[in-house]
Amino acid sequence: MTALPTRKLEAWRYTDLKNLAAISFTEAKPAKIVAPLPDLGIPRIVFVNGSYNAALSTPPEFMSPFVKVVDESVLPLVQINAAHAHDGVTIDVPANIDAGAVLLISYANTEMPIAFHPRHRVVLGAGAKLTIIEVAMGQGVYWHNPVTDITLHEGAALGHYRLQDESTEAFHLATIRAQISATAAYESFSLVIGAKLSRAEFHATLTGPNASTHLNAAQLLRGRQHADFTSVVAHKAPTCASRQTVKSVLSDHSRGVFQGRIEVAQIAQKTDGYQMNQALLLSPHAEIDIKPELEIFADDVKCSHGATIGALDPEQIFYLRSRGIPEDQARSILIRAFLTEALEPVTHEAARIFLEDAIETWWARK
């Protein structure tokens, strides 16, 4: 098996997988479902301990079974996934079809440590539309290492909204690769509240003129959780736009990481690239590490990134309290407001309500 990446690799300088490397994993067994699975009244695809569960699923149109592929990626986690993937979902929406929304659930429940490496593929034909609401959840010690490959043909639009609410003993290392053709749009938002250690690594490539993407995220962490949001946006065609707003709310001993790189090739004139990373530290023991990178080889571009790190503003808290709002609620209001901008790409109503509920749940859990 390909070795896990170590901190010696620049891309992994802030996330250490030694605790994962120390675990020996066993074969997954069929699992009991102890928590109710989300139901949004839309087609639902359910994986349990890494395997497709037909009984719990109400598959959407255009879904086909898993096919193993050859993958020559240099990314260690993708290599590991390629070697071990035995299941996953493929959705192939023909041109000019609006395929509506689908809920994709990964549920895990295990007594012994298990690892699963699903490989998902989503292809949208020219002008096709789809919304995917993805939820990862579970109990116990496990390693979820999904790779999702997305291909959007000309003018296609994919809304991809992810809730990572894994067991707080689990490792979640997701890789999402998106090829975005001319005028296509990949809109994504990830809400990270679960896992002991997690990383979502996006590689979005804008391959045709006027392609666009949002890669937004919110990481809400407590205890000793560690979450890493890493993105590489490659502008390989002119007049494309990429937008990233990533917000971290860190309490207790948690640690948040944001690494984002915008690459602009020489041909990609008139690129509009933007990254904003903001972190709220709610505890004296929390830590944030940020590395926003610009790598630019075209001259007629507008690229910027910004970062701010700080605590909640005591003036704002006092203002709310002076109106009779209890301190805890005042903090919650300010944190919700802080997150608003990151949720912007979530235009699907049910998805938005679902994610906002998840934020409320997170706040109430403490």
Partner: protein, 488 residues
Amino acid sequence: MAAVIETLETVDALAAQKYKYGFETNIAMDAFPKGLNEDIVRLISAKKDEPEWMLEWRLKAYALWRTMDEPDWARIKHPPIDYENLYYYAAPSGPAPKSLEDVDPELLKMYDKLGIPLNERAALAGVESPNVAVDAVFDSVSVATTFRETLSKSGVIFCPISEAVREHPDLVKQYLGSVVSIGDNFFSALNSAVFSDGSFVFIPKGVRCPMELSTYFRINARNTGQFERTLIIAAEGASVSYLEGCTAPMRDENQLHAAVVELVALDDAKIKYSTVQNWYPGDADGKGGIYNFVTKRGACRGSRSKISWTQVETGSAITWKYPSCILQGDNSVGEFYSVALTHNYQQADTGTKMIHIGKNTTSTIISKGISAGHSNNTYRGLVKILPGASGARNFTQCDSLLIGDQCGAHTVPYIESRNMSAKVEHEATTSKIAEDQLFYCRSRGLSEEDAVGLIVNGFCKDVLKELPMEFAVEAQKLLAVSLEGSVG
């Protein structure tokens, strides 16, 4: 408008010149054999008449260097440097000059041609500009240090570091390597083993240095590396402004410059360190030029101390330098103001580290990168807030400007915060000169090249204004000249 006219005049005046410092001085030189081994280190130490402890320090550095690899994380590419094919020591022949009268007239002519005032009377005759004391380092040795007597009246020590090792061993022992340790990196280890000269400055308690201090570095000899070492200490309440300039002849081969600069500021001390780096950048095809691998770091050890770095980097084929501040003292302040301009095939990977350790420490980073031709220009920086740095503040602004579509501009900031009461703000932008700005200038009669020079100077204004006045004018000229041939 004055600045506009000045810039235009500058561009006109220098239009015909490219690298005007590229001449070579013919002078009898002593050099040690090529290559590096323990014997060379011993020879350098013996040549400098060094005490045993200094030799031991060098040998330790040499042994460490042998075990280290060149850093590979910067965005620079170059053929392997053959460390065995370099001269590590080169100096004008004969005994060391005791005074200006003893200095080889060819050398004096060269400094005159470079516009460096080594004659105190001539400098004193200057009515408008304040006096500047100069330490002139030529290849491996300091050839002259001016105004030493004037300075010593206020207790300021300003001398070649080789002399300080002999005359002020306690100060050197206490501070040398205390900010940049021998093994900090490959180049600092190399420098520690073979450094041959550089400047030493000590400003005693409560003294405000009565004049600007400067060191002028000149690489002349072929196949010779320059490894200078600078150490500046400002005691409690002291303050000093220090300037550094560098040039080298035009040569087809690459030459290595690996310097180490250490600054120490005690309670309430202030050090302002300004650099205009104009080493030979190589020709339009990327042939020749200096490889500039420099470690510069300041320690704000005392409360309320302040270290401010300002750099204008227009020269060198490769620039690899990160003037940094360790903000140890409570309420200490670190600043980094930088303009890095790359043209033709130059490569710059430069930035800073601000390490916040003490309470209420503040740092400001303003970086302006300009890329033209086929060059690559990278800002790389680290802002680190440690758990004890309550109330720390950082503000960073990093702007890149691209001229032409064959060059690259890169920004790689690292921000790490472990204190909730700290506030960090970072902004970075990349853009090109706007067509409407260019058109506006040209519709007022400026040539495209003049317009670019003007706009670039405006882009760099926030940094240039931090330079001492006479340096600022020089830097403005340099920016315009360095951009020649970048448009049209």
